[in-house]
Symmetry: C2
Subunit: 227 residues, 2 copies
């Protein structure tokens, strides 16, 4: 019984990787750098995007693909930023898929003018487990961890922290009120993903956001995907 | 392609329900009331349990089944409370299952002396999507939502808020620092699950915890499962 379940899942991941490569080929053809943005629910991904994309990234035409189980609250929030935003809902699947997969992203591509973009940020469904397992054809992955979630998260959700190129530690303005021990958190991050880049941010106050903007602005050159 | 995936998932849910009924029969035989405790990562489930179970529930012998992708941090925290705690890790599955299912809970039952318990609290993996889909044989479901996650969560994860009998709104001590609008949150909760009981709590300061204790203490009588 257990063997059968594992086989089904491996097949699903295999199919996912095939479609992720097709997405990747489309992104390369259009010269679009793609970021998969992941976090637990309510860690502040959308507020961070508002801060990062609101003023515009110099010389970079950015777009957003918004993933949610239901609704378009986040897409509505981003709509005023004058960047193309496409909402993708996952609730057609069994009561709501807990992650975006390559095929869901592929289904949204016709709604995006890839040739008019340099950078596409895909905001995943809020979840610290499954999004890390499904590649969507991205160049880089950012995971956002809020200090309100506690310092133990890297040890409890190691794959998520291992699967990303940047850990944004958000809501640092709340640190005094939640007994968050930054040193312990950074130690745990380094334990599960040695050397990964971390940035300390408050999307609410704007502190540290410029460093995220710089990281994103340099990403196309870093991955060599710019057309 | 999409049809096939949906069928696989329905089969999985069907098998899950069969095993959940077997768990339910075992719990009934032993006169154990079972609570499925769910939330996003870092919403404060374990701190709430420390507060609720630390002083003991009068006349109720409680035990905890701790679900995590990896590690035993939460079980270690609860071990000093003098309640039986069993850790269940889900990382044997594909890079970490994002929820507990009935079979995982069943696999842990031999480690629990059900006849010595009146109340079993199952702390699920931190996730606002899939745990709501998998019954484990429980009598009641509590979901914990932290004000730090924002007021929009009921609209974004409606199934989770619909699938529970009690919504614990935690970290209310943080409300002034995160612009959390309680009225808006309660309105959204009522929209997706009209009439569901809500309790406002700070597991950190202890505020409102007595009401959670009362709710749990009365649960065995309410569900009529006490032997």
């Amino acid at each position: 019984m257990h063997r059968v379940r594992v086989r089904v899942v491996e097949d699903a991941l295999d199919a996912n990787n095939t479609i992720a490569q097709a997405n990747r080929a489309d992104f390369d053809r259009a010269g679009v750098t793609v970021v998969n943005l992941m976090s637990a629910p309510g860690a502040g991904k959308t507020t961070l995007l508002e801060r990062v994309l609101g003023p515009g990234l110099p010389g970079i035409r950015a777009g957003v693909l918004e993933g949610d189980v239901a609704g378009s609250l986040d897409a509505d929030r981003l709509a005023h930023l004058h960047v193309p935003v496409v909402q993708l809902n996952t609730d057609a699947g069994f009561g709501g898929e807990c992650h975006l997969d390559a095929n869901m992203v592929r289904s949204a591509l016709p709604a995006l003018d890839l040739d008019a973009l340099d950078l596409l940020i895909v905001e995943n469904v809020g979840n610290l487990v499954c999004p890390a397992e499904f590649r969507i054809g991205e160049d880089a992955r950012i995971m956002v961890s809020s200090v309100a979630e506690g310092a133990d998260k890297p040890l409890k959700y190691p794959l998520m922290f291992r699967a990303c190129e940047l850990v944004v530690i958000n809501k640092i303005d709340l640190a005094p009120y939640v007994d968050f021990e930054m040193d312990r958190f950074l130690h745990y991050v380094d334990q599960v993903h040695p050397g990964v880049r971390t940035l300390q941010v408050s999307a609410r106050t704007g502190e540290g956001v410029d460093e995220v903007r710089d990281w994103l602005a340099e990403l196309p050159d870093r991955v060599g995907a710019a057309a």
